[in-house]
């Protein structure tokens, strides 16, 4: 059953991706229009879609920084300690 569901979704990958984009858009819209931000700690939390940008940037920064850091020489061949 699980496999059939996954196959069903994979066959319609383009549609699934579009639905996901629409869902992201709706999420930001919902946040802007309907969510009460009375408890916000910072002024910038009240900007529409602030946490979306935060999440996206956090993700990109983590990936780029880590890869840069790893290629400084931290990442090495697998038999490094076996010599």
């Amino acid at each position: 059953m699980i496999v059939r569901l996954i196959d069903f979704l994979r066959d319609r990958l383009g549609l699934v991706i579009n639905i996901c984009y629409v869902a992201l858009g709706l999420l930001v819209l919902w946040d802007t229009l309907f969510v009460d931000k009375g408890h916000a700690e910072f002024w910038f939390e009240k900007l529409p879609g602030f946490w979306s940008v935060f999440g996206f940037l956090a993700c990109v920064v983590i990936i780029l920084f880590s890869k840069w850091f790893g290629h400084l020489g931290i990442m090495t061949r697998e038999d490094y300690y076996d010599r």
Binding site: I2, V3, I6, D7, A23, L24, L27, V28, W30, D31, F34, V35, D36, K37, H39, A40, E41, F42, E45, G49, W51, S52, V53, F54, G55, F56, A58, C59, V60, V61, I62, I63, L64, F65, S66, K67, F69, G70, G73, I74, M75, T76, R77, E78, Y80, Y81
Partner: protein, 598 residues
């Protein structure tokens, strides 16, 4: 000597482990489930027995085996529950010694959780290290042997810091051994030494490298146990003694981010999960450092939730390793049609660790972040939110994607072997997965156990603004993941970490011992052999001949009897150091039980 009917769960595990080899084959599996269930039920019945039990006088000291309060109970609850799940998951393991090692390890953890003084704490602290190392060694690979010794080395060193701290504190306070709030306002040298002992077990950088090194090399079942007990017992100890220790806030935040960065680079699945333990324990360490009632509640709640979802993740990825023998991303991929149930369970673990609404992480992690916001640690709280994006990025997305989807790197043999694991392993995962969702949906189960009830009652995770904030961070992280998917393709490489220093340092030491020291020794021995030893040996041979053939034969043949007995005894020793350590450990445990309770 037992003061009342309060039964220490440690005792249940010790006795259970002792009798396990004697249980008939047909009863073995029921017995394996029965013992941890008994211990769990024992903890459940302790709700009414808050107070101090099992107090003994030992020389000049009062040792306390059973301090029962809200803080020790919430940890005891989850530890004994995890032992039930872990044992069910490992029911197929035939080797008794692996179950015994796991139970002794749990016994040590509960000993720490219920103890009321530093002597008892130290004793059980060491029991944990010395029993858990077998969970690494039983993997049986050459690398596991080395990883086990490194694990032991680091933990023994940490234990010495702890012991030094305990002794210095004993001196400085004029004989105080009680294990309670240590006085974080004016930390002294002993305070820091004890803290080092604790945070080494919590895997705070730079004292963390033992964790990914060891957990990735442990047995499939062993890693499920290890990921729960060592670090979370350390969190318990920190909650008990170091609540409000300011330095733990930056340390915890660094941990949370450090684990995330290394997880990006990691190619081995279980090592990736291990780096995420460091990251998640970072939240708890920061929570302890913040030290408010809400923060301590958060640290406890997060430890509770973490044990379940991390156990679940290690069970899921362990199943892949168990079935296919592979644990590198670069040798896996596209397995969704082969191991669909394992995929779903692992995904539930991934969504829980990422703190999706309705999953356990959502109701626990946010408590620590909220406590940070409330108590003027806003920067720390924001950095923890960055780390939470990284958590979803790896455990929620990278792990499922690159094992079950993505590019198929499997060999024909791997695909042939891949299928959902035996039913007991699936049951283990199913129970953990159910609890992850149950905790997320029904908050009173967890919240009613937290140490500060007033603060727990005031906290409501399911506010619209919080749900919206979390969903935005997580879903836009997912967007970033898919846009940068190429960058994230795992590389068949390892990452150097702090263990480099002792691995390479050990090598330098070995060179020094082999070359200059042993070389000089050889020269001296050679000179001695030619000038002194040869004539000496000739004389000795004569006297030996005379003693054996002359005296022993004439007297009563005692030497021959002793030699034969010695030869028989020798066959019982395999010569492996690990076996000797196991024997010695068992003896110590038995002697201890006899001493205390008889």
């Amino acid at each position: 000597m037992i003061a009342n009917v309060w039964l220490h769960p440690t005792l249940i595990y010790l006795i259970g482990a002792f009798f396990l080899p004697l249980i008939p084959r047909g009863l073995r599996k029921p017995y394996l489930v029965f013992v941890p269930c008994l211990a769990f039920l024992g903890v459940l019945t302790m709700n009414g027995s808050h107070g101090v039990h099992g107090v003994f006088q030992y020389l000049d000291w009062t040792v306390i085996f059973g301090r029962v309060d809200a803080l020790s109970l919430v940890f005891a609850h989850i530890m004994t529950l995890m032992c039930v799940i872990g044992t069910i998951y490992g029911l197929h393991v035939e080797r008794d010694a692996e179950h015994i090692a796991a139970w002794l390890y749990v016994a040590g953890s509960l000993g720490v959780i219920f103890c009321g003084d530093y002597l008892t704490l130290f004793l059980f602290w060491e029991l944990m290290a010395f029993s858990s190392v077998f969970l690494i060694w039983f993997r049986g690979r050459k690398q596991s042997l080395g990883a086990g010794y490194r694990y032991l080395l680091v933990h023994v060193a940490g234990g010495l810091f702890l012991l030094a701290g305990i002794i210095l504190r004993y001196k400085a306070t004029g004989g105080d051994l009680s294990f309670g709030p240590i006085g974080v306002d004016h930390p002294t040298l002993p305070t820091y030494l004890i803290m080092i002992g604790f945070i080494l077990n919590a895997a705070v950088p730079p004292l963390h490298a033992w964790l990914p090194d060891a957990y990735a090399e442990a047995t499939v079942n062993g890693a499920v146990f290890m990921c729960a007990f060592t670090t979370k017992t350390a969190i318990y100890a920190l909650c008990r003694a170091f609540a409000g220790m300011e330095i733990l806030v930056p340390l915890g935040v660094c941990m949370a981010l450090y684990g995330v960065v290394y997880a990006v680079l990691e190619n081995n699945i279980r090592k990736l999960l291990a780096y995420h333990i460091i990251s998640q324990v970072g939240y708890m360490v920061a929570g302890v450092g913040i030290g408010t009632e809400l923060a301590i509640n958060g640290a406890c709640a997060h430890a509770f939730a973490h044990i379940l979802y991390k156990g679940l993740l290690f069970m899921g990825c362990g199943s892949v390793l168990h079935m296919t023998g592979k644990s590198d991303f670069s040798e896996l991929g596209g397995l969704y049609d082969k191991m669909p149930k394992t995929f779903v369970y692992t995904l539930i673990g991934g969504l829980s660790i990422s703190a999706f609404p309705l999953f356990s992480g959502f109701v626990s992690k946010s408590m620590i972040v909220a406590a940070g916001m409330e108590s003027h640690h806003a920067t720390a709280a924001l950095l923890l939110l960055v780390a939470s994006a990284g958590t979803f990025l790896h455990t929620g997305l990278k792990v499922p994607y690159f094992i079950w989807f993505g590019k198929n790197n499997c060999s024909a043999q791997t695909r042939e072997l891949a299928k959902d694991p035996p039913s007991n392993m699936q049951w283990g995962m199913a129970i953990a997965a159910f609890l992850c969702i149950f905790i997320g949906c029904y908050t009173p189960y967890l919240y009613s156990m937290l140490p500060y009830q007033a603060a727990a009652a005031e906290y409501h995770p399911y506010e619209l603004s919080h749900i919206s904030e979390t969903l935005q961070i997580l879903l836009f992280t997912a967007l970033g993941f898919f846009l940068l998917l190429k960058k994230l393709t795992p590389e068949a490489k390892i990452s150097l970490d702090m263990d480099w220093f002792y691995r390479m340092g050990g090598r330098a030491f070995a060179w020094f011992a082999q070359k200059p020291v042993q070389g000089a020794d050889n020269v001296v021995s050679e000179a001695y052999r030619t000038t002194g030893l040869v004539p000496l040996m000739a004389t000795a041979r004569f006297w030996s001949w005379f003693d054996w053939n002359g005296i022993d034969l004439v007297v009563d043949g005692i030497a021959r009897t002793v030699r034969n007995a010695g030869a028989n005894l020798r066959h019982m020793q395999s010569g492996q150091l690990q076996v000797s350590i196991l024997a010695a450990m068992s003896l110590v445990a038995i002697a201890l039980v006899l001493y205390v309770f008889v």
